[in-house]
């Protein structure tokens, strides 16, 4: 009976990371929203102001980390939701690959944008 499960991949790591990223995101997401909608109004955003913020290394790193964690959290969340709906076999592998690529692309593009904004590229 138990043999059926011998080839499993423990899902524990993903689960734990999902919680850890969530805990981190609570803080940064709140900060992000607050900064860009309440302190500075979104409507008043200009490239210059953005650049001023991005030039600060601490802010830059926080934003990149924000991006990385959010991308992981979001993509992993979507993947889990699909597995919960009974995704299996090849289709599951394909979805996994597509989501990973999308996530990586998102992070790459985002980091590139941030570097440009900071004026370092």
């Amino acid at each position: 009976m138990a043999e059926r499960y011998s080839s499993f991949t423990p899902g524990g790591t993903g689960w734990l990371l999902q919680r850890l990223t969530a805990a981190f995101l609570i803080v940064v997401l709140a900060f992000h929203f607050f900064l860009l909608h309440f302190v500075n109004h979104a409507a008043d955003v200009t490239f210059a102001a953005t650049q001023a913020r991005m030039e600060n290394v601490g802010y830059f790193l926080t934003m990149v980390l924000f991006l990385v964690t959010a991308a992981f959290h979001g993509v992993n969340g979507v993947y889990n939701a699909l597995v919960n709906q009974g995704l299996t076999g090849t289709r599951k592998k394909v979805v996994f690959a597509v989501l990973t690529l999308a996530g990586l692309a998102l992070v790459a593009q985002g980091t590139y944008v941030a570097l440009v904004m900071a004026g370092w590229m």
């Binding site: 499960y5 499993f8 423990p10 524990g12 689960w15 919960n84 709906q85 009974g86």
Partner: protein, 296 residues
């Protein structure tokens, strides 16, 4: 059904002239009461037959399906009006409907006291044990359906094989081969530890929890709350050694094990034995994480 009640046989002769203590009265209050009860019942049955329910009745809408019988191949709901009695349960009501109106009405039941786990139905939109659900707690008409997310065999009977498979998949048995010898020593277990596993050990395999869980409905391989709870009972039992506990966590940790649970809580809500299923699943997740962190 015949409206004629069999005439009550006269009281045994010997009881009419009792000499001894136990049988003093001509007809004891007990006998009189029984007599009254039967008369009432026959009156009630008679009125139920004539289709003019004078007394309070229960309106049941029961799901019917039989793959073999022409007019039942297309699922339908049948209406039954059953005379209400104080303390009546959903199981009593469907049994009454079966015994008096349609003997082909099919459902599993046995103990009538919430220990055999045969009669979990979908009653008014919730998984419940028929024998443990008072009619008076429900709004009418009462819809009685087979458990969702399981294949229907006939009427209220669903296929439980998959549920049993999942229960078996967690290796639900003591692993150690240690048996008593010579001195007849039992293994020791603290009261606290026994208390810890107490709730988990109450499961009667009714399948209500599994049927209520959306994740189990979507992911067929998900072990499901009942099986995880079964594993919890063993994993938390101090009588088993540490290595065995780790082995148990490995079974639970697989992709379709504890991680699939999305803390929907429906299992906990429907469990007729009040087992805190979600809590147990969550505790196992934490145990599994802890175990993994040890190796890092």
């Amino acid at each position: 059904m015949s409206t004629q009640r069999q005439k009550q046989p006269d009281e045994p002769e010997t009881q009419e002239a009792p000499t001894d203590q136990e049988m003093k009265a001509e007809a004891s209050p007990q006998q009189k009461r029984l007599q009254r009860k039967r008369e009432q019942q026959s009156a009630r049955e008679a009125s139920a037959d004539e289709g003019e329910p004078e007394e309070e009745t229960v309106h049941l809408k029961v799901f019917r399906y039989d793959p073999e019988v022409a007019d039942k191949q297309e699922p339908r709901f049948d209406d039954f009006h059953v005379p209400f009695e104080k303390g009546m349960t959903v199981l009593d009501a469907v049994m009454y409907a079966r015994d008096h109106f349609d003997s082909s009405l099919t459902f599993r039941h046995s103990c009538r006291q919430a220990v055999c786990g045969s009669d979990a139905f979908f009653v008014n939109g919730k998984q419940r044990l028929g024998c443990k659900t008072q009619i008076s707690d429900l709004s009418q008409p009462i819809r009685v359906e087979p458990l969702p997310h399981q294949e229907v065999v006939k009427d209220l009977v669903v296929d439980m094989d998959h549920f049993y498979e999942q229960m078996h998949a967690v290796e639900p048995y003591f692993q150690s081969e240690d048996l008593p010898q010579g001195e007849l020593e039992e293994q020791r277990q603290s009261r606290e530890n026994r208390e810890k596993i107490k709730m988990s050990s109450r499961c009667i395999w009714c399948g209500a929890c599994m049927s209520s869980c959306n994740i189990a409905a979507g992911d067929n391989q998900y072990l499901g709350p009942a099986a995880i709870n079964k594993a919890y009972k063993f994993a938390m039992d101090d009588r088993e050694e540490e290595e065995i506990k780790e082995h148990r966590l490995r079974i639970l940790e697989q992709e379709h094990g504890v991680w699939r649970c999305q803390t929907q809580f429906s299992c906990t809500e429907v469990c007729p034995k009040d087992i805190p299923l979600t809590e147990h699943i969550q505790e196992l997740k934490r145990e599994a994480v802890k175990k993994n962190l040890k190796f890092w």
